[in-house]
Structure formats: C-alpha cells, structure tokens
C-alpha cells in the first residue's frame, strides 16, 4: 500500500438515484505495475475508470491518485494521469502528428519535453509517414494506435486505458498490446486498464481485479488466481466465481 499510486476504498456510484453501477469496491494499484479490471460489459469497469480519471464523481467512498483526492484535487490528478476512453476519437481535421504535438504541448513543461514526448509518440504509434495524414483518413486500428501513443507518450504517473484493444483486428490488437508492454518495460509507468478480454489481461497484467455487477469478486496476479481456483485460465476463474455467487 505504501507505494500505491491508486487507492480505491468502498467506492459506490449510483446513477439516477437507484442503479448501483459500482457497489462498494476497494482495490489499490502499485506504482510501476500493470493492473487490469476485468469483467463483462456493464460490470462497472468504465464507471470506475471514469471516476479515477476525474470525469465522474463518486456517490460515496474515496479514490486517491498519486496522493490526491479525485474530487477535491481533480486538477492535480489530471496533471499526473493520461486517460484513454473506450470510445475515443481524435480531431479529424488535424494530422496524426499535429494531434500528438497538441497533446504533448498540454503536458510538457518545456520544448525539450515536447520533442521527447513526440519522439516516443511517433515510435509507439508505429504509423510512420501516415502521421502526416489527417486523422479522418485513419482506419479504426490506426486511430487506436495513435490514441494509445498519445496516452502513453506523455509518461504519466498513471495511464488509464479503457478497453484498449476493443473492436480491433488481430494485427492492430497485437500492436497495441506490444506498445503497452514495451512502454511499461522501458518507461516503467503504471498502467490501469480494463478489458472484457480475459486472455489479453492475463498476457498484459501483473495483477487483476475481477469485477461483476459492480462488485469485485477477486484480486490477485493472473497466475495466483488461476492456481487458487485450480483452472487453466482467467476466463475459467471468472466463470467459477460468477457461478459460485449464484
């Protein structure tokens, strides 16, 4: 807990006075690790990430990011995080390079840092010459690679990726996963991601939390969870946990 960059305690989010999207969850994310929130659609993953990214506010409970409260110190939290929503886009009439430059300038403290961020972004996107094309000409895969690059290139203390490979073909999904792995290895940043693809999470994450109907069912490393439940992969862990709940 001492080196935790994210601390979530008894987090509750209620929509329209009755629907409990997140129902009293608690977890922490250690500095430098890749942490995955896994669960089916509607489990509460996106809501949790949106609260951590200061877009939504909790109904009750506490969320601390880098020592700052996401409600009271939202401005400070935004300076140390970089967030990629599931259904994100880019400014269609900017080129890929202009978009990366725009984001770099928002985070950088000086010209040197802008150049450094851009260099990382260009490399992470793997889009090469296509960065000089307008974003409106990009395929879904190209756009997602650009957005992953813009999220990670600014070297945030915490990168939040909501379903980073959702809807991508195999080649683009592999590229995105590799970019995340490479970033974590080379820069050593903390990544909090969500996915309903449990095999992907098993490959990427150091630790995972399995979330279902707004509640966390289990937390641990993929290996630890698989061993504890005597199954062969995380999907089977999830099925076992859900059926036990019923």
């Amino acid at each position: 807990m001492e080196t935790s960059i994210v601390i979530v305690e008894n987090l509750v989010k209620i929509y329209q006075k009755s629907f409990r999207a997140v129902d009293g969850i608690s977890f922490y994310v250690k500095s430098g690790e890749i942490f995955g929130l896994i669960g089916p659609n509607g489990a509460g993953k996106t809501t949790t990430l949106r609260i951590i990214a200061t877009i939504l506010q909790p109904t009750s409970g506490k969320v601390i990011v880098g020592g700052y409260d996401v409600v009271k110190d939202a401005d400070k939290v935004r300076k140390i995080i970089s967030y990629l929503p599931e259904d994100a886009g880019g400014y269609k009439y900017l080129t890929g390079f202009e978009f990366l430059e725009f984001i770099s300038k928002l985070y950088a403290k000086n010209l040197h840092e802008i150049k450094e961020f851009l260099s990382i972004g260009i490399e992470l996107s793997g889009l090469g010459d296509k960065l000089s094309n307008k974003i409106k000409t990009y395929s879904k895969g190209m756009l997602r690679r650009l957005l992953i690059a813009k999220t990670l290139m600014v070297k945030p203390k915490l990168a939040i990726l909501d379903e980073p490979t959702s809807g991508l073909d195999v080649i683009n999904a592999v590229h995105v996963r590799e970019a995340i792995k490479r970033y974590a290895r080379e820069v050593g940043g903390t990544i909090l991601l969500s996915s309903h693809n449990m095999l992907e999470v098993e490959y990427l994450c150091d630790r995972v939390a399995i979330i279902h109907e707004g509640k966390i069912l289990a937390i641990g490393s993929p290996k630890q969870l698989i061993e504890e439940h005597s199954v062969s992969n995380l999907e089977e862990v999830f099925v076992k946990l859900v059926s036990r709940g019923r």
Binding site: I81, L84, G89
Partner: protein
C-alpha cells in the same frame, strides 16, 4: 494552454466543412428570412402611415382668405382637418399633442397679405414622433409634400388673379418642418428619423449577424468535440476546463465580430451607393440629440449581449450529442431571438416609461432600442439597457462554470437523451 486551444479551434474551423456550413450557409438562410420579415414590416408601416397622415391639425393665425384656401386645399386632398382655436403657438402645440392628428400646420399672421403682395410665407409644420419608425419618416415627408403641393397650386391661383405668369412669382410658400418627440422639439426631423429608422432596420441585422454567427460557431465547435469523440478525453486533460470553454468563446466571438464588420461594410457600402441622400446622414445633428456618452452605453450593451447569447448557445450545445442536434436545439431559440430584435420596431418610444423600462430588460431588444432611448434621454432605461445584458452574461457564465467543473458536463446528455451503457 489557452492559446494552444485557440490555435486548435482556428485550425478546426478553417478545415472543417461542418463549421464552414455553420459559418456561411445557416446565417445566409436566416438573413433571407429576416429580409422577408423586414419587407412585411415595412409594408405594414407604410399602410399605417397613409392611415395616420389622413388627419391634420391647423392653427390659423391669419384668418384671411388665403389661409382658408389652404385649409380647403387640404380638405380637397381628402384630408380631415381639425382647426385648433388658440391664442398662441405654444398653446396650439399643447392642444395638438392631445389630438389624433399627427401633423400640425401653423399658418402665420399676414399669410394672406404676404401672398397677395407676392411675398413668400413660411408655414410651420410640426410632426408628432413616437416610434421613430419608417412609417413616421414617411409622415415627415408627406407633411412637407402637402405644403409644396399647395405652393404650386397657390402660385397658379395668385398668378391667375394678378394676370402674371406663374414663373414671375417663384416660391410663394415654404414649409419649415419640426418634430415633436417626447416634449422636445427637433429641427430637421426627417434626417433624424431616417437615420434612426435605417439604424433600426440594419443595426439589428448586423447585431443578429454577430449573435447568430457566434452562437452557431460555439455550439458547433462544442458539438464537434462530442461528435469526434474527444469530449471525454478533453475532460481528463491537464487544463482548466474553463480555458477550453474560454478559447471556444473567444474564437467564436472574434470570428463573429470579423464577419459582422465585413457584413456592415458591405451593407452600408451598398446603401450609400443605392439610396439617394444617404450621404447627407453625415450632416445630421444627431449628436445634439444624443447623450455624449452613448458610445459607452452601446459598447457595454453589445459586449454584454455577445457574452450572454454565446453563453446561451454554449449551454444549449452541452445538451447536444452531435453537430446536427446542436443545430436543431439552437434553431429553437432563433425564432425568439428574431422577435426580440424586431420588437422595438413596433413600439412607440414616446409611450409610458414603464414600457421603455420593460424593453430595456429584454436582451437583444434593448440593443436595438438603445439609440431611441438615448434620443428621449431616458437615463434609467439607458443604464439598465447597457448593464442588464452584462449581468445576464455573467450569470450564464457562472452557470456554465458550475456545470463545467462538475460531472454534470458529462452526464447532462444522459438525462436529456438516451441512457448510455455503463
């Protein structure tokens, strides 16, 4: 950070056809509708003029044969004449104020003697001014025209009586026209009415240009963030959210102002070329009729209006999920906007101060009304007009700030539109 967003906004506007459509086509459609409305308004006012100028009052200080010929001549033109019995001009004017007639002719003493002696006479003409509309501008012209018609008639009559050619007499009667506006007598009223009515027609058009154009632009640029799925990302960026809003407002108002200035030059350039006598507006002693600090009142009013209207557009655009719905939502407020702009055209400013006061609280209407309020020197209404828009603008800005700095900015559409998956 702020300027980074300003540059980004400008790039998007230059490159995005949707924004270009909002910039050019939508205002053009609206302007076409407006011209139609103005045309209808002018026709109604001209009809009203014809009705109102059918009754004239006459104060006859001569009482001899030629003054009676003048009165008979007015009757022969189909006018109903009301004869004022009074001992002096001031009293006659007071009586005239209470009459239905809009025009008062004062036939001076020795009118008949001068005519029979072939000396020119001056008929003093007073026209009641109230709404300062195009119709009233027409009444001023008509009042003078009756005098010049009688001049032609009497020259022929006198020439025939004296057995001399009409050219020998030259000018027998001239009319000196003054306006009566809220207890004040105004010299050269046709020019002032002309200036104010032209202003009343075209200044609203120009202000509407600024307001509609800027509102369209800011609403569209906000909706583009959602349509391009950048909104959620934007809310998580390390920048004060009000900077983003401020950048959008600045760019929209700045482009709107440039568009407005260009439009004004084009419009007034056209007017100067196509309307005879428009150049003479430079000679109008308008400044004498207006308070010296009118510029400050107008500036405060227009700045407040721009902030208020663009803030309204911005607020409405927060409900929209894409550019099309933003345009649709905004379209619903365009109608009331046009009504507010052209409301003062049909209001008599010499009416009760409470009506002036009420209008000075109505955004847009007060902008159009402000020169007329200045003419009657209603300082209270003037001050309210110049400050109320600013107050509304600040209130709207505070509402937006409250929304922007909470999760409401993100969830607003969820409550209004369909429910979104968690």
């Amino acid at each position: 950070m702020f300027w980074l967003f300003v540059v980004k906004e400008l790039k998007s506007i230059i490159r995005d056809p949707k924004l270009l459509i909002a910039m050019v086509i939508v205002p053009l459609i609206l302007m076409t509708i407006l011209y139609f409305i103005i045309g209808q308004g002018m026709i109604q006012q001209i009809e009203q003029t014809i009705r109102e100028s059918g009754i004239v009052a006459v104060f006859d200080m001569d009482g001899e044969n030629y003054s009676q010929i003048f009165i008979n001549y007015l009757n022969s033109l189909g006018l109903k004449t009301i004869i004022i019995n009074s001992t002096n001009v001031d009293e006659a004017i007071e009586i005239f104020k209470g009459l239905e007639a809009k025009i008062l002719y004062i036939i001076p003493p020795r009118f008949s003697y001068n005519l029979s002696s072939l000396r020119p006479s001056v008929v003093h003409v007073y026209v009641k001014l109230g709404a300062l509309t195009i119709g009233e501008g027409g009444i001023v012209d008509i009042a003078s025209r009756y005098v010049s018609l009688f001049n032609s008639y009497i020259i022929k009559t006198v020439a025939s009586e004296k057995g001399i050619p009409p050219e020998f007499i030259g000018e027998a009667i001239t009319g000196a026209t003054r306006g009566l506006l809220a207890d004040r007598i105004i010299d050269n009223p046709s020019n002032i009415v002309f200036a104010l009515t032209m202003g009343g027609l075209f200044i609203p058009l120009i202000i509407l240009m600024l307001v509609i154009f800027s509102a369209q632009l800011v609403a569209t640029s906000m909706a583009v963030e959602k349509e391009e799925k950048m909104f959620e990302t934007l809310l998580s960026l390390p920048i004060n959210r009000m900077c983003v809003i401020g950048a959008k407002l600045l760019v929209s108002i700045a482009i709107g102002a440039i568009y407005m200035i260009g439009y004004s030059f084009a419009l007034f350039g056209l007017l100067f070329r196509s309307i005879p006598g428009f150049e003479s507006l430079q000679e109008i002693p308008l400044a004498m009729s207006l308070p010296s600090d009118i510029g400050i009142y107008v500036l405060l009013n227009v700045v407040g209006l721009a902030i208020f209207m663009v803030s309204v557009a911005l607020l409405l655009s927060l409900f929209a999920e894409d550019v099309r719905s933003a345009q649709a939502i905004l379209g619903n407020v365009i109608g009331p906007t046009i009504i507010a702009v052209y409301l003062p055209m049909f209001v008599d400013i010499s009416s009760s101060p409470s009506i002036r006061l009420a209008l000075s609280f109505v955004p847009l209407a007060n902008t159009v009304f402000i020169p007329k309020i200045a003419v009657v020197q209603d300082i209270t209404a003037l001050a309210i007009s110049s400050l109320s828009n600013l107050v509304y603008g600040v209130i709207m800005f505070m509402v937006i700030r409250r929304i922007v700095n909470s999760e409401t900015i993100f969830t607003l559409k969820l409550r209004v539109g369909r429910k979104k998956a968690m």
